[in-house]
Subunit: 107 residues, 4 copies
Protein backbone atom coordinates (compact mmCIF):
# COMPACT_ATOMS: atom_id res chain seq x y z
CA UNK A 1 0.00 0.00 0.00
CA UNK A 2 1.55 3.35 -0.94
CA UNK A 3 2.31 5.56 2.03
CA UNK A 4 1.57 8.69 0.06
CA UNK A 5 -1.41 10.61 1.35
CA UNK A 6 -4.26 11.13 -1.10
CA UNK A 7 -4.80 14.78 -0.27
CA UNK A 8 -3.16 15.95 -3.47
CA UNK A 9 -5.29 13.97 -5.85
CA UNK A 10 -7.55 16.24 -7.85
CA UNK A 11 -11.17 16.26 -6.78
CA UNK A 12 -12.45 17.51 -10.12
CA UNK A 13 -15.30 15.50 -11.55
CA UNK A 14 -14.12 13.02 -14.14
CA UNK A 15 -15.51 13.53 -17.61
CA UNK A 16 -17.52 10.61 -19.02
CA UNK A 17 -14.58 9.89 -21.29
CA UNK A 18 -12.09 9.80 -18.42
CA UNK A 19 -14.44 7.69 -16.35
CA UNK A 20 -15.06 5.16 -19.09
CA UNK A 21 -11.32 4.80 -19.60
CA UNK A 22 -10.79 3.96 -15.91
CA UNK A 23 -13.70 1.64 -15.17
CA UNK A 24 -12.38 -1.41 -17.05
CA UNK A 25 -9.86 -1.81 -14.22
CA UNK A 26 -12.67 -1.93 -11.69
CA UNK A 27 -14.73 -4.77 -13.02
CA UNK A 28 -16.38 -5.70 -9.74
CA UNK A 29 -17.84 -2.20 -9.40
CA UNK A 30 -21.16 -0.98 -10.80
CA UNK A 31 -21.66 2.53 -12.12
CA UNK A 32 -24.76 4.28 -10.78
CA UNK A 33 -27.42 5.18 -13.31
CA UNK A 34 -26.61 8.86 -13.02
CA UNK A 35 -22.89 8.19 -13.39
CA UNK A 36 -22.16 9.93 -10.09
CA UNK A 37 -21.06 6.95 -8.01
CA UNK A 38 -19.66 3.43 -8.14
CA UNK A 39 -20.70 0.58 -5.88
CA UNK A 40 -19.46 -2.86 -4.96
CA UNK A 41 -20.60 -5.61 -2.62
CA UNK A 42 -17.84 -7.45 -0.75
CA UNK A 43 -18.71 -10.84 0.78
CA UNK A 44 -16.58 -12.56 3.40
CA UNK A 45 -16.67 -15.82 5.31
CA UNK A 46 -18.13 -14.35 8.48
CA UNK A 47 -18.60 -11.17 10.48
CA UNK A 48 -15.06 -11.23 11.87
CA UNK A 49 -13.55 -11.31 8.39
CA UNK A 50 -15.91 -8.59 7.17
CA UNK A 51 -15.03 -6.30 10.05
CA UNK A 52 -11.31 -6.97 9.64
CA UNK A 53 -11.67 -5.74 6.06
CA UNK A 54 -13.60 -2.69 7.24
CA UNK A 55 -10.89 -1.81 9.74
CA UNK A 56 -8.15 -1.98 7.14
CA UNK A 57 -10.35 -0.01 4.74
CA UNK A 58 -11.06 2.61 7.41
CA UNK A 59 -7.34 3.16 7.98
CA UNK A 60 -6.65 3.46 4.26
CA UNK A 61 -9.64 5.76 3.67
CA UNK A 62 -8.59 8.12 6.44
CA UNK A 63 -5.04 8.19 5.09
CA UNK A 64 -6.42 9.07 1.64
CA UNK A 65 -8.74 11.61 3.26
CA UNK A 66 -11.59 10.12 1.26
CA UNK A 67 -14.28 8.04 2.95
CA UNK A 68 -16.75 5.46 1.70
CA UNK A 69 -20.47 5.31 2.21
CA UNK A 70 -20.85 1.75 3.38
CA UNK A 71 -23.21 -0.68 5.04
CA UNK A 72 -22.55 -3.98 6.77
CA UNK A 73 -24.82 -6.91 7.53
CA UNK A 74 -22.94 -9.85 9.05
CA UNK A 75 -20.50 -11.00 6.33
CA UNK A 76 -21.47 -8.47 3.64
CA UNK A 77 -20.06 -4.98 3.10
CA UNK A 78 -21.76 -2.76 0.54
CA UNK A 79 -19.59 0.18 -0.51
CA UNK A 80 -20.59 3.25 -2.48
CA UNK A 81 -18.02 5.79 -3.59
CA UNK A 82 -18.63 9.33 -4.77
CA UNK A 83 -16.94 12.71 -4.30
CA UNK A 84 -19.30 15.26 -2.83
CA UNK A 85 -17.02 18.18 -3.66
CA UNK A 86 -17.06 17.06 -7.30
CA UNK A 87 -20.75 16.27 -7.34
CA UNK A 88 -19.80 12.96 -8.95
CA UNK A 89 -16.84 10.67 -9.50
CA UNK A 90 -13.27 11.89 -9.14
CA UNK A 91 -9.87 10.24 -9.20
CA UNK A 92 -10.20 9.85 -5.43
CA UNK A 93 -13.01 7.36 -5.92
CA UNK A 94 -10.99 5.42 -8.46
CA UNK A 95 -7.99 5.33 -6.13
CA UNK A 96 -10.06 4.23 -3.14
CA UNK A 97 -11.86 1.56 -5.19
CA UNK A 98 -8.51 0.15 -6.28
CA UNK A 99 -7.25 0.17 -2.70
CA UNK A 100 -10.37 -1.64 -1.43
CA UNK A 101 -10.06 -4.25 -4.17
CA UNK A 102 -6.47 -4.86 -3.09
CA UNK A 103 -7.44 -5.16 0.57
CA UNK A 104 -10.26 -7.60 -0.18
CA UNK A 105 -7.96 -9.71 -2.33
CA UNK A 106 -5.69 -10.26 0.67
CA UNK A 107 -8.47 -10.93 3.20
CA UNK B 1 -19.76 -4.58 30.11
CA UNK B 2 -20.85 -8.03 31.30
CA UNK B 3 -18.59 -10.85 30.17
CA UNK B 4 -21.53 -13.20 29.84
CA UNK B 5 -22.18 -14.28 26.27
CA UNK B 6 -25.59 -13.45 24.86
CA UNK B 7 -26.18 -16.85 23.33
CA UNK B 8 -28.63 -17.87 26.01
CA UNK B 9 -31.00 -14.96 25.60
CA UNK B 10 -34.28 -16.09 24.11
CA UNK B 11 -34.77 -15.23 20.47
CA UNK B 12 -38.55 -15.41 20.64
CA UNK B 13 -40.33 -12.43 19.15
CA UNK B 14 -41.40 -9.97 21.81
CA UNK B 15 -45.10 -9.43 22.11
CA UNK B 16 -46.29 -5.86 21.50
CA UNK B 17 -46.91 -5.58 25.24
CA UNK B 18 -43.39 -6.78 26.13
CA UNK B 19 -41.89 -4.48 23.51
CA UNK B 20 -43.78 -1.44 24.68
CA UNK B 21 -42.65 -2.08 28.23
CA UNK B 22 -39.00 -2.13 27.17
CA UNK B 23 -38.81 0.77 24.71
CA UNK B 24 -39.06 3.58 27.27
CA UNK B 25 -35.48 2.73 28.27
CA UNK B 26 -34.34 3.18 24.68
CA UNK B 27 -35.48 6.70 24.02
CA UNK B 28 -33.01 7.44 21.24
CA UNK B 29 -34.30 4.53 19.18
CA UNK B 30 -37.17 4.58 16.71
CA UNK B 31 -39.56 1.69 16.23
CA UNK B 32 -40.11 0.69 12.60
CA UNK B 33 -43.64 1.08 11.27
CA UNK B 34 -44.15 -2.67 11.18
CA UNK B 35 -42.79 -3.05 14.70
CA UNK B 36 -40.14 -5.50 13.54
CA UNK B 37 -37.01 -3.39 14.09
CA UNK B 38 -35.57 -0.46 16.00
CA UNK B 39 -33.17 2.10 14.58
CA UNK B 40 -30.87 4.81 15.88
CA UNK B 41 -28.49 7.31 14.32
CA UNK B 42 -25.22 7.88 16.20
CA UNK B 43 -23.27 11.05 15.37
CA UNK B 44 -19.63 11.57 16.35
CA UNK B 45 -17.05 14.30 15.97
CA UNK B 46 -15.29 12.79 12.99
CA UNK B 47 -14.67 9.56 11.09
CA UNK B 48 -12.05 8.34 13.55
CA UNK B 49 -14.45 8.61 16.48
CA UNK B 50 -17.24 6.97 14.48
CA UNK B 51 -15.05 4.03 13.53
CA UNK B 52 -13.74 3.67 17.07
CA UNK B 53 -17.35 3.26 18.17
CA UNK B 54 -17.98 0.74 15.40
CA UNK B 55 -14.98 -1.33 16.46
CA UNK B 56 -16.12 -1.49 20.07
CA UNK B 57 -19.64 -2.27 18.88
CA UNK B 58 -18.36 -5.01 16.57
CA UNK B 59 -16.55 -6.72 19.45
CA UNK B 60 -19.61 -6.52 21.69
CA UNK B 61 -21.97 -7.70 18.94
CA UNK B 62 -19.84 -10.74 18.17
CA UNK B 63 -19.63 -11.58 21.87
CA UNK B 64 -23.42 -11.37 22.07
CA UNK B 65 -23.68 -13.38 18.86
CA UNK B 66 -26.13 -10.80 17.54
CA UNK B 67 -25.12 -8.37 14.81
CA UNK B 68 -26.44 -5.02 13.70
CA UNK B 69 -27.40 -3.87 10.26
CA UNK B 70 -25.50 -0.63 10.04
CA UNK B 71 -24.27 2.02 7.66
CA UNK B 72 -21.56 4.63 8.04
CA UNK B 73 -20.94 7.90 6.25
CA UNK B 74 -18.03 9.84 7.74
CA UNK B 75 -19.09 10.72 11.31
CA UNK B 76 -22.54 9.10 11.23
CA UNK B 77 -23.47 5.52 12.06
CA UNK B 78 -27.04 4.37 11.35
CA UNK B 79 -27.94 1.19 13.18
CA UNK B 80 -30.96 -1.05 12.66
CA UNK B 81 -31.63 -4.00 14.94
CA UNK B 82 -33.92 -6.93 14.30
CA UNK B 83 -33.83 -10.67 14.93
CA UNK B 84 -34.22 -12.64 11.74
CA UNK B 85 -34.91 -15.90 13.58
CA UNK B 86 -37.77 -14.19 15.41
CA UNK B 87 -39.03 -12.36 12.35
CA UNK B 88 -39.10 -9.24 14.52
CA UNK B 89 -37.72 -7.84 17.76
CA UNK B 90 -36.37 -10.09 20.49
CA UNK B 91 -34.59 -9.51 23.79
CA UNK B 92 -31.33 -9.75 21.85
CA UNK B 93 -32.14 -6.49 20.09
CA UNK B 94 -32.99 -4.80 23.35
CA UNK B 95 -29.74 -6.01 24.92
CA UNK B 96 -27.64 -4.91 21.95
CA UNK B 97 -29.35 -1.52 21.80
CA UNK B 98 -28.57 -0.97 25.48
CA UNK B 99 -24.96 -1.99 24.94
CA UNK B 100 -24.56 0.38 21.96
CA UNK B 101 -26.06 3.24 23.95
CA UNK B 102 -23.53 2.58 26.72
CA UNK B 103 -20.64 2.48 24.26
CA UNK B 104 -21.70 5.73 22.59
CA UNK B 105 -22.06 7.44 25.95
CA UNK B 106 -18.38 6.76 26.67
CA UNK B 107 -17.08 7.71 23.21
CA UNK C 1 -14.88 -19.68 13.18
CA UNK C 2 -17.11 -21.49 15.69
CA UNK C 3 -19.80 -19.30 17.22
CA UNK C 4 -19.52 -21.12 20.52
CA UNK C 5 -18.23 -18.95 23.35
CA UNK C 6 -15.05 -20.13 25.07
CA UNK C 7 -16.35 -19.54 28.59
CA UNK C 8 -16.92 -23.19 29.23
CA UNK C 9 -13.44 -24.38 28.44
CA UNK C 10 -11.64 -25.55 31.57
CA UNK C 11 -9.03 -23.16 32.92
CA UNK C 12 -7.11 -25.85 34.79
CA UNK C 13 -3.40 -25.84 34.15
CA UNK C 14 -2.41 -28.43 31.58
CA UNK C 15 -0.11 -31.15 32.84
CA UNK C 16 3.25 -31.37 31.03
CA UNK C 17 1.98 -34.51 29.36
CA UNK C 18 -1.23 -32.84 28.13
CA UNK C 19 0.75 -29.81 26.97
CA UNK C 20 3.30 -31.85 25.06
CA UNK C 21 0.51 -33.71 23.31
CA UNK C 22 -1.05 -30.46 22.10
CA UNK C 23 1.99 -28.43 21.04
CA UNK C 24 2.79 -30.38 17.85
CA UNK C 25 -0.28 -28.74 16.31
CA UNK C 26 1.12 -25.30 17.12
CA UNK C 27 4.46 -25.47 15.39
CA UNK C 28 4.90 -21.73 14.98
CA UNK C 29 4.66 -21.18 18.72
CA UNK C 30 7.49 -21.31 21.23
CA UNK C 31 7.10 -22.66 24.75
CA UNK C 32 8.49 -20.40 27.45
CA UNK C 33 11.37 -21.80 29.49
CA UNK C 34 9.17 -22.19 32.54
CA UNK C 35 6.47 -23.88 30.50
CA UNK C 36 3.90 -21.33 31.60
CA UNK C 37 3.28 -19.53 28.29
CA UNK C 38 3.52 -19.87 24.53
CA UNK C 39 4.59 -17.11 22.15
CA UNK C 40 4.51 -16.41 18.43
CA UNK C 41 5.61 -13.57 16.19
CA UNK C 42 3.26 -12.74 13.31
CA UNK C 43 4.71 -10.70 10.44
CA UNK C 44 2.55 -8.94 7.85
CA UNK C 45 3.13 -6.83 4.77
CA UNK C 46 2.56 -3.51 6.45
CA UNK C 47 0.95 -1.81 9.44
CA UNK C 48 -2.52 -1.89 7.91
CA UNK C 49 -2.41 -5.65 7.48
CA UNK C 50 -0.99 -6.12 10.98
CA UNK C 51 -3.74 -4.03 12.55
CA UNK C 52 -6.43 -5.78 10.50
CA UNK C 53 -5.21 -9.04 12.02
CA UNK C 54 -5.22 -7.50 15.49
CA UNK C 55 -8.81 -6.34 15.08
CA UNK C 56 -10.02 -9.78 14.03
CA UNK C 57 -8.00 -11.31 16.87
CA UNK C 58 -9.46 -8.83 19.36
CA UNK C 59 -13.01 -9.79 18.39
CA UNK C 60 -12.24 -13.50 18.64
CA UNK C 61 -10.39 -13.10 21.96
CA UNK C 62 -13.27 -11.21 23.54
CA UNK C 63 -15.72 -13.82 22.29
CA UNK C 64 -13.56 -16.53 23.88
CA UNK C 65 -13.24 -14.40 27.01
CA UNK C 66 -9.48 -14.99 26.90
CA UNK C 67 -7.09 -12.21 25.91
CA UNK C 68 -3.54 -12.16 24.60
CA UNK C 69 -0.57 -10.24 25.86
CA UNK C 70 0.65 -8.68 22.66
CA UNK C 71 2.89 -6.01 21.24
CA UNK C 72 2.94 -4.37 17.82
CA UNK C 73 5.67 -2.52 15.97
CA UNK C 74 4.63 -1.58 12.43
CA UNK C 75 4.10 -4.90 10.60
CA UNK C 76 4.98 -7.22 13.49
CA UNK C 77 2.69 -8.59 16.18
CA UNK C 78 4.25 -10.50 19.08
CA UNK C 79 1.71 -12.58 20.99
CA UNK C 80 2.16 -14.31 24.34
CA UNK C 81 -0.55 -16.55 25.76
CA UNK C 82 -0.94 -17.73 29.32
CA UNK C 83 -3.82 -18.28 31.73
CA UNK C 84 -3.39 -16.26 34.90
CA UNK C 85 -6.09 -18.20 36.74
CA UNK C 86 -4.21 -21.41 35.98
CA UNK C 87 -0.78 -19.95 36.69
CA UNK C 88 0.30 -21.48 33.39
CA UNK C 89 -1.08 -22.88 30.17
CA UNK C 90 -4.68 -24.07 29.88
CA UNK C 91 -6.87 -25.26 27.04
CA UNK C 92 -7.92 -21.64 26.56
CA UNK C 93 -4.43 -20.76 25.39
CA UNK C 94 -4.37 -23.70 23.01
CA UNK C 95 -7.76 -22.70 21.60
CA UNK C 96 -6.78 -19.04 21.19
CA UNK C 97 -3.45 -19.98 19.58
CA UNK C 98 -5.29 -22.14 17.05
CA UNK C 99 -7.75 -19.34 16.34
CA UNK C 100 -4.95 -16.80 15.80
CA UNK C 101 -3.12 -19.18 13.47
CA UNK C 102 -6.32 -19.54 11.44
CA UNK C 103 -6.83 -15.76 11.30
CA UNK C 104 -3.25 -15.14 10.20
CA UNK C 105 -3.50 -17.80 7.51
CA UNK C 106 -6.38 -15.88 5.91
CA UNK C 107 -4.78 -12.42 6.22
CA UNK D 1 -8.29 16.02 14.63
CA UNK D 2 -6.50 17.90 11.86
CA UNK D 3 -6.93 16.36 8.44
CA UNK D 4 -3.43 17.34 7.44
CA UNK D 5 -1.11 14.41 6.92
CA UNK D 6 2.00 14.32 9.10
CA UNK D 7 4.37 13.45 6.26
CA UNK D 8 5.79 16.94 6.13
CA UNK D 9 6.82 17.19 9.74
CA UNK D 10 10.59 17.22 10.08
CA UNK D 11 12.11 13.98 11.29
CA UNK D 12 15.29 15.63 12.57
CA UNK D 13 16.21 14.67 16.10
CA UNK D 14 15.11 17.29 18.61
CA UNK D 15 17.91 18.95 20.53
CA UNK D 16 17.75 18.51 24.33
CA UNK D 17 16.71 22.16 24.53
CA UNK D 18 13.87 21.72 22.02
CA UNK D 19 12.77 18.53 23.73
CA UNK D 20 12.72 20.05 27.18
CA UNK D 21 10.62 22.92 25.88
CA UNK D 22 8.01 20.53 24.50
CA UNK D 23 7.71 17.93 27.26
CA UNK D 24 5.81 20.10 29.78
CA UNK D 25 2.78 19.74 27.51
CA UNK D 26 3.04 15.95 27.75
CA UNK D 27 2.92 15.45 31.47
CA UNK D 28 1.64 11.88 31.41
CA UNK D 29 4.66 10.76 29.36
CA UNK D 30 8.01 9.61 30.72
CA UNK D 31 11.29 10.36 29.00
CA UNK D 32 13.56 7.33 28.58
CA UNK D 33 16.89 7.47 30.38
CA UNK D 34 18.77 7.92 27.14
CA UNK D 35 16.40 10.64 26.02
CA UNK D 36 15.59 8.78 22.83
CA UNK D 37 11.95 7.88 23.50
CA UNK D 38 8.86 8.80 25.49
CA UNK D 39 6.43 6.33 27.01
CA UNK D 40 2.96 6.37 28.52
CA UNK D 41 0.62 3.78 29.98
CA UNK D 42 -3.06 4.20 29.12
CA UNK D 43 -5.59 2.38 31.33
CA UNK D 44 -9.21 1.83 30.32
CA UNK D 45 -12.28 0.23 31.86
CA UNK D 46 -12.00 -3.05 29.98
CA UNK D 47 -10.54 -4.72 26.91
CA UNK D 48 -13.23 -3.36 24.59
CA UNK D 49 -12.46 0.23 25.59
CA UNK D 50 -8.71 -0.37 25.29
CA UNK D 51 -9.05 -1.82 21.81
CA UNK D 52 -11.39 0.98 20.72
CA UNK D 53 -8.63 3.41 21.68
CA UNK D 54 -6.07 1.35 19.79
CA UNK D 55 -8.19 1.36 16.65
CA UNK D 56 -8.59 5.12 16.70
CA UNK D 57 -4.88 5.47 17.44
CA UNK D 58 -3.99 3.12 14.58
CA UNK D 59 -5.97 5.22 12.11
CA UNK D 60 -4.37 8.43 13.33
CA UNK D 61 -0.86 6.93 13.34
CA UNK D 62 -1.18 5.68 9.78
CA UNK D 63 -2.48 9.08 8.68
CA UNK D 64 0.54 10.72 10.31
CA UNK D 65 2.77 8.05 8.79
CA UNK D 66 4.33 7.54 12.21
CA UNK D 67 3.63 4.42 14.24
CA UNK D 68 3.88 3.58 17.93
CA UNK D 69 5.61 0.68 19.58
CA UNK D 70 2.85 -0.55 21.83
CA UNK D 71 1.73 -3.46 23.96
CA UNK D 72 -1.69 -4.40 25.26
CA UNK D 73 -2.77 -6.58 28.14
CA UNK D 74 -6.53 -6.54 28.70
CA UNK D 75 -7.38 -2.93 29.67
CA UNK D 76 -3.83 -1.50 29.53
CA UNK D 77 -2.01 -0.05 26.54
CA UNK D 78 1.69 0.77 26.93
CA UNK D 79 2.95 3.11 24.23
CA UNK D 80 6.55 4.00 23.38
CA UNK D 81 7.35 6.64 20.79
CA UNK D 82 10.65 7.22 19.03
CA UNK D 83 11.75 8.13 15.51
CA UNK D 84 14.10 5.54 14.07
CA UNK D 85 15.19 7.79 11.22
CA UNK D 86 16.20 10.42 13.77
CA UNK D 87 17.76 7.92 16.18
CA UNK D 88 15.77 9.65 18.91
CA UNK D 89 12.82 11.95 19.44
CA UNK D 90 11.48 14.15 16.64
CA UNK D 91 8.48 16.42 16.26
CA UNK D 92 6.59 13.40 14.90
CA UNK D 93 6.71 11.78 18.33
CA UNK D 94 5.50 14.95 20.00
CA UNK D 95 2.64 15.26 17.52
CA UNK D 96 1.62 11.61 17.90
CA UNK D 97 1.81 11.82 21.71
CA UNK D 98 -0.49 14.84 21.66
CA UNK D 99 -2.91 13.05 19.34
CA UNK D 100 -2.99 9.95 21.57
CA UNK D 101 -3.61 12.09 24.65
CA UNK D 102 -6.55 13.70 22.86
CA UNK D 103 -7.97 10.33 21.81
CA UNK D 104 -7.68 8.90 25.33
CA UNK D 105 -9.34 11.97 26.79
CA UNK D 106 -12.43 11.27 24.69
CA UNK D 107 -12.53 7.50 25.30
Amino acid sequence: MPAKAGDDRPVERLSPRQRDALLPGLEAWTLADDGAAIARRFVFGDFVAAFGFMTRAAIVAERMNHHPEWANVYNRVDVRLTTHDADGLSMRDIALARALDALAASA
